[in-house]
């Protein structure tokens, strides 16, 4: 079966080729889609390749950072916590050079385990997402974007540099693995503490109960368990995640306090 | 002795670092077909209907191989050792593990071979599956093997590997303490970076050249010849460059079916497993359930040991009867225990068949024995080195299968280990040797085993 392959040369052309997104599979770095194609798990009829769409950039304007959708993960390594360390924790040098911000954020949670490492870090940073698709272009919070189920084409993400940031993750036995559990924290310049976890639900999730108890890291760690519905999967058991989540939250909050 | 202690170049190193070493997948022959396998999606099921005609009619498909194409369908890996055969090369009327091979499609390219597999019409009737070796003996357990849930063909049609030595009941009567432990190492996939792969080439003189990743070339040759019912001189098996094996490439996993497809299509056929197939359907190291119960004295002697091994063979026997035999020989480890009661069963489950991996059978029993020795020391409040040295094999001691040790190295190894760990042994233990037992080191309970003659 021949696949209709589109290689747009601008973000505008990409938006046109994407249309309302129906029947379109998007490939940026290829680390997810090629795996599906190689194993016959995906047999798409139309594929949008974004490597020439001009969406690879990290811009800083004052305290606002804007990252294009096809920016490789390697290019985030120099950014402050939690985003920089979170990106550096993904894969190995080759995968980070290939995998993109958009691909990672839009990774569809498989039935086997949660994916999308950057979701937690960018939720903690209060990031907004500019995307295109049905109804044209729009900008919204990352949580709203994620809840729309990956049916839109992500163009870029923006966030304000935090006053302090921290990232803690369970160690992975091999770079192939997705992180079984990670916690990101950011202290905004207005004093708000935001916490988010990856690996504790099918997408990244804010830890609002833990945020409410942020002054006491230990208490916040326990409170975080109320914010998540943990599951058993190939990467870790719910029991193990439940035992380690409070510790990661406590470590992140302690680091935020030390930086503040 | 010029080679001892000298640097020796690896003869294959330059090929490895420059990418010129030729592995099976790198061999190039013209007009080669690619193969894909239809595998069981169920752990245990009857095959109620199979029709390959749609696949065979597809453009680009050159051969479909099913059980009907195999001259000798069922051949045992250890038939030469008297272990009967139970595993068909391709499933006939039932499947007993998820991933079991059923039908191979050889086609002009990989995509067509894959489409051919998808075009095979097959129906199953699922059956209850068994995964827990501990439940295999229950009367209401799923029956999963025609021989019963455990292997019944040890010598003399025994249903277990059995050791009885000394007087186990008396040992337990005399014991100050009974110390028990259960040890359950899990299955391990070998994960060679080169997956199972074969290239079979029909030659113009009627012979077959088979490029194989086997670890055991002449063994593989015999297995292929038996299934194909051809004399050995019809086969030229080319091996020697293996992209990692670790025991997992002793079983002849890909060669025979590739050979059949090459013969049927009259074309070279390559069958390279995907990583997913390797994890799903290639053999693993077995998981074991091991129970040890020791009769011990307060001063650290182990008078007797009762042991049960349940060796998870997976769906077929393969080499497992040999593996559990290793357990029977090694179930006292490097130590002398005069009164023994050992039962080892090869238990069938609906897991992938298990096989050799690095020290077949010995690593698992050693894990159990050494962990248990530390447990004994812990429960007696003794130093773990001292308990081991006290019970260590000495010259003239006898093994569970009544072999007399002529030069056991247990004492020396333990002393070296203590030294490496910076542990200072007490005088009597530091000065201990492998010499025959005498004095305090020959208590009454160890006298009898010295007199054991023959096997």
């Amino acid at each position: 079966m021949d696949i209709d392959v589109r290689i747009p040369d601008s973000s505008r052309a990409a938006a046109a080729d994407f249309g309302d997104g129906s029947g379109v599979s998007v490939m940026a770095g290829g680390t997810i889609m090629m795996n599906l194609l190689n194993s016959y798990r995906a047999q798409p009829s139309k594929v949008l390749l974004l490597h020439k769409a001009g969406l690879s950039y990290v811009n800083q304007d004052g305290s606002t950072v804007t990252i294009g959708a096809t920016t490789p993960l390697a290019d985030l390594a120099g950014l402050p916590a939690p985003l920089g360390p979170c990106a550096a924790n993904i894969g190995d040098p080759a995968i980070r050079g290939q995998g993109t911000v958009g691909g990672n954020l839009c990774a569809i949670a498989s039935e086997e385990f949660p994916v999308g490492d950057l979701q937690g870090a960018l939720l903690a940073l209060g990031a907004t997402v500019r995307s295109t698709g049905e109804g044209g272009e729009r900008t919204e919070g990352l949580a709203e974007f994620l809840s729309s189920g990956g049916s839109r084409l992500l163009l870029e993400v923006s966030f304000q540099l935090p006053a302090a940031g921290a990232f803690e993750a369970l160690r992975r036995p091999h770079t192939k693995h997705f992180t079984p559990l990670a916690v990101s924290g950011a202290l905004a310049s207005d004093g708000e503490v935001r916490l988010a976890a990856t690996g504790a639900a099918s997408t990244g999730v804010r830890l609002s109960s833990a945020e409410a108890a942020a002054n006491d890291p230990s208490e916040a760690g326990q409170a975080a368990l109320e914010d998540v519905t943990l599951a058993d999967d190939a990467l870790a058991s719910a029991w193990y995640r439940g035992r380690t989540l409070p510790t990661l939250v406590e470590r992140v909050l302690t680091q935020l306090k030390e930086q503040a | 002795m010029k080679a001892v202690g000298a640097r020796l170049p690896r003869y294959d190193a330059m090929g490895h670092v420059t990418g010129t070493t030729q592995f099976v997948d790198d061999v190039r022959v013209p007009r080669m077909l690619w193969a894909k396998m239809l595998r069981s999606p169920h752990h245990h099921a009857a095959i109620t209907r199979m029709d390959t005609s749609r696949a065979e009619a597809m453009p680009g498909v050159r051969a479909v191989i099913t059980w009907e194409d195999v001259p000798l369908l069922t051949y045992g890996h250890l038939e030469a050792l008297g272990i009967p055969a139970d595993e068909p090369l391709l499933a006939k009327d039932e499947v007993r593990y998820k991933g079991q091979p059923i039908a191979l499609v050889a086609a002009e390219d990989v995509d067509t071979a894959m489409a051919g597999v998808d075009a095979i019409d097959i129906e199953y009737s699922e059956r209850p599956a068994l995964f827990d070796v501990r439940k295999a003996f229950d009367s209401d357990s799923a029956q999963i093997h025609p021989w019963g849930n455990w292997y019944p063909h040890f010598e003399g049609e025994m249903d277990r590997r059995k050791i009885r030595k000394g007087d186990i009941d008396e040992a337990f009567e005399q014991a100050d303490k009974i110390i028990s432990g259960v040890y359950r190492p899990a299955a391990i996939e070998h994960v060679p970076v080169e997956t199972q792969v074969c290239l079979a080439v029909p030659e113009s003189d009627g012979r077959l050249t088979i490029y194989s990743c086997t670890q055991a070339l002449y063994f593989t040759m015999g297995v292929i010849a038996a299934h194909l019912q051809v004399p050995l001189n019809k086969l030229k098996v080319v091996g020697g460059t293996v992209g990692g094996g670790f025991g997992g490439k002793v079983d002849t996993a890909s060669d025979t079916v590739s050979a059949l497809a090459a013969m049927k299509a009259g074309r070279p056929v390559k069958w390279r497993w995907t990583r997913e197939e390797e994890f799903l359907a290639s053999s693993t190291r077995a998981p074991w359930h091991m129970e040890i119960i020791d009769a011990v004295t307060d001063n650290g002697w182990i008078l007797g040991r009762k042991m049960l091994t349940l060796h998870d063979s997976g769906a077929y026997a393969r080499f497992s009867p040999y593996g559990v035999t290793k357990h029977s020989f090694h179930h006292t480890g490097a130590y002398t225990i005069p009164n023994l009661h050992f039962d080892g069963y090869v238990v069938f489950t609906n897991r992938v068949p298990t096989t050799a991996m690095r020290g077949f059978g010995v690593t698992s029993i050693s894990f159990a024995v050494e962990t248990h020795m530390s447990r004994v020391a812990n429960e007696l409040g003794m130093d773990p080195y001292e308990v081991r040295l006290l019970n260590a094999n000495r010259i003239n001691d006898t093994s569970p299968n009544r072999i007399r040790y002529t030069d056991p190295s247990t004492v020396d190894v333990l002393q070296s280990l203590a030294g490496a760990e910076g542990v200072q042994l007490e005088g009597a233990y530091a000065g201990m040797t492998r010499d025959p037992r005498s004095g305090d080191l020959l208590p009454d309970h160890l006298v009898g085993q010295l007199k054991t003659e023959g096997h």
Partner: protein, 172 residues
């Protein structure tokens, strides 16, 4: 589509989303890139694209158009091995050899990129590569040594050369 591999051009006949791995192996007979998992997990198919390490199994061939692809064949030959290839031999940093081309490629990117001889840094650089034989230590040593030196002794030092009858690069 035309791609450049080890300095030579090649007109691709596979479809645009075919993996670079498949094109290299099956169209061009560049067999040093290995199909270990075809899902990005083993590192055995790693190539350099414009000098950076990439998984050829995860690279649609069309995205390599206009870039320079380098495999281990392009880094050195048996007659003229690179420093890293020499270091791997000198340190016995391989056994079966199946993962070795990918590791040599990743190590080359690391050393050329100014990587240090700190073993933790080396470990991070090769962390995407699975080797089931060596236990990695000799590989780490080989890469770290290649950071500091460009020539390595590949001969035996005590054995009469006439006793070594098997030539390098022998396959089957």
């Amino acid at each position: 589509m035309r791609i450049e591999v080890n300095g030579a051009g090649h007109n691709v006949t596979s479809p645009p989303l075919a993996s670079l791995l498949t094109v290299l192996r099956e169209e061009m007979d560049v067999t040093s890139v290995k199909a270990g998992c075809e899902s990005g997990g083993c590192g055995a198919c790693t190539v350099l694209i414009d000098g950076q390490p990439r998984r050829s199994c995860l690279t649609p061939v069309v995205t390599a158009v206009g870039s320079e692809v380098t495999t281990v064949e392009g880094l050195g030959t048996p007659d003229s091995p690179s420093a890293i290839q020499q270091s791997f031999i000198h340190h016995y940093a391989m056994q079966c050899g199946f993962c070795t081309p990918g590791l040599v490629v990743a190590a080359t990117a690391y050393v050329n990129g100014g990587g240090s001889d700190d073993l933790d840094s080396v470990a991070e650089a090769i962390s995407g590569h699975v080797c089931r034989c060596t236990g990695y230590n000799k590989i780490l040593e080989a890469v770290a040594a290649a950071v500091k030196s460009s020539e390595f002794d590949l001969s035996s030092t005590a054995v009469d050369k006439n006793t070594v009858v098997i030539k390098t690069g022998g396959a089957v």
